[in-house]
């Protein structure tokens, strides 16, 4: 079992995400995180899926995904093959703010992106291990809410979308 990032380059059609996720459902594979966005090229979307599974399984998943008619290309990488980032937001009550928190914010390179009379929102981008570490610390500060995005990632390999739509 290992963590893999699956990249899917698709046409921007209704239902495409459903077509892809049912492939995981059918094999009983849990999706750890998923993000979808436009790509550099108009009309082409990219979906990034994070899964923890065996390499045999990830190969089969990618083959099945690529079989979906409106999928242009699907491929996968281990963590070493991708540059990736996640963003996390932490909502903390103002009543708990003290000097200790300032130190934590500095140490983790977090930012305060919103301040309201009752709470502040911190933001941290990084790998899951980093955002998780801050999460554990902030639980001691009466953390009200926590949200983390799926991974956004680019492959290290020097291949671009243009190579796939030729």
């Amino acid at each position: 079992m290992k963590r893999y990032t699956i990249f899917v380059i698709t046409e921007n059609f209704i239902g495409i995400l459903n077509r892809i996720t049912i492939i995981f459902t059918r094999r009983g594979i849990n999706i750890d995180a998923l993000t979808a966005s436009e790509s550099r090229v108009d009309g082409i979307h990219r979906i990034t899926i994070e899964v923890t599974t065996s390499e045999d399984m990830v190969i089969q998943l990618v083959n099945q995904i690529e079989k979906v008619i409106d999928v242009i290309k699907a491929f996968y990488h281990e963590d070493e093959g991708v540059v990736y980032q996640e963003i996390a937001l932490y909502k903390i009550p103002v009543t708990r703010l003290d000097g200790g928190l300032e130190k934590i914010i500095r140490q983790h390179n977090a930012k305060i992106i919103a301040a309201e009379p009752q709470f502040v929102v911190l933001e941290l981008s990084g790998h899951k291990e980093q955002t998780q570490e801050l999460l554990e610390i902030l639980k001691g500060y009466g953390l009200l809410e926590f949200a983390r995005s799926g991974r956004v990632a680019v492959a290290k390999r020097m291949v671009t979308i243009d190579d796939y739509i030729k």
């Binding site: 209704i14 239902g15 459903n18 190969i59 083959n63 008619i69 409106d70 999928v71």
Partner: protein, 564 residues
Amino acid sequence: MKESMIRGADIVVQSLIAEQAEIIFGYPGGAIMPVYDALYDYHEQIKHVLTRHEQGAIHAAQGYARVSGKVGVCLATSGPGATNLITGLADAQIDSTPLVCITGQVAAHLLGTDAFQETDVVGISMPGTKWNIQVRRVEDIAPAIAKGFYIARSGRPGPVLIDITKNAQVDFGEMNYAPCLGFRSYKVHKPVEQSSIQEAAELINKSERPYVLFGQGVVLGKAETELKFFLDKTGIPAASTLLGSGALSQDHPSYVGKLGMHGNYASNLLTNQCDVLIAVGMRFDDRVTGDLKRYAKQAKIIHLELDPAEINKNVKVHVPVIGDCKESLSMLTEAVDKKSHPEWLAKFRELEELEKEAVVQHDISPTKIGLTMGEVINQINQYKADDAVLVTDVGQHQMIAWRYFNYKKPRTQVTSGGLGTMGFALPAALGAQLHDYSRQVICVVGDGGIQMTIQELGTIMQTKAPVKIVLLNNNYLGMVRQWQQMFFDRRYSFTELNNPDFIKIAEAYGIRAQKVKAREELTEAIEDMLIYDGPYFLEVVVEKEDNVFPMIATGCSVEEVRLS
């Protein structure tokens, strides 16, 4: 509005005609009525067959597609009309049958409101189609149908569903039909890599006990001749999967039998003794491989396959040869040495004798009083045409008919392989027959399966399709009963059937019918049936508790194939 504009419903029908569809199997209803209204004007250009149920329509379209190699076309209304297609879609998807199914849908402004006969058929059918789409605007109809036909018939074929809202059918638009010639996300033709051919040829040339397994991919790729040439040159023994039957004449010297749970003894057993296994257009289904951990572990495996997702799916292969097997087989034939394998072939023949003594003898010349399914098929072989199509349902009769039918020509085998859909045979036989009235179509069916779609006798009556229906009646759901006997201590839980008078039913539909109970009546009855000009219903009462052997029980290895 410009004068050149026509209704969306007319665009639907004209698009089907532009794709050279000759026949539509369908059933009308509210949301598809505009298309039915349009069909009224085109009856000279395209035929429509009214089945008695939408499941009958889609299985008929499958039967038509399987024997013709063309795209089967099916028409149904929204809601229940559309959901009744689902079994057929799943069946066509797993057996790679090209279909275009068009369903009506409620008007676009009603979508998502639980309108009358509204169902999310695009959502429901997503896992069971190669592609599907909902069309909500008249201008999108023709491009969707063009793309649908292209997807259904190209690459590894499969079913496509196009859901068209009622407003799109009644609105007016331009008809500028342009066939689809490809698009960027779907690359069909991948040239075969010469290096993989070289690697495969080297393995084959060095091999002492090579073995070919061929499947329906050979038929779908129209590569029957290429397979024959390859076997002529190499002299390699070759066995067929269920759906591959017919791809190679059983008279060919390389032919050594059928694979899988109820295939032949030698062809299964020797899978674990070959040194190179060459799989052509087959997908290592679990019914073929048995226990994967003990499947052909001694062999180097070469897999000629169009669909890259099939490579290493079930069996790890040493040399994948991805591409159209028509191309790869002829390249491989060029690259291999001329050879013969008399000793290796003799091994198959030796084991064949064991099967003859232990199984075939009993099946085709029984000593019991009751008739066996095997002797019925054997008698059919004596009188059938070489290119007769055998359509079967699912269960004991399917396995027995497959085992004993003498396949000589391609596209003579129509059965529900992957999905195992009871009720498939009767409508599929109708569809196969409507492709060509002059071809012999023999529908072998059990007393369980026929009652799942028996209403299609009505369609046979109305179309006068001269289908020869052979009902093998043992008053049981025979295959389930066999499993109950072998694996569940003979606890026959809900498998015995109290059947109606089938002859009366057939006669009520105006179909000539005959019932055979005794051996001495069989030959004449089969002869009568096959020369009769029109639909014919022959019921044969067979031994109640007969079993199908050989058998590889679930979880067993191919080398544990049992003769009794």
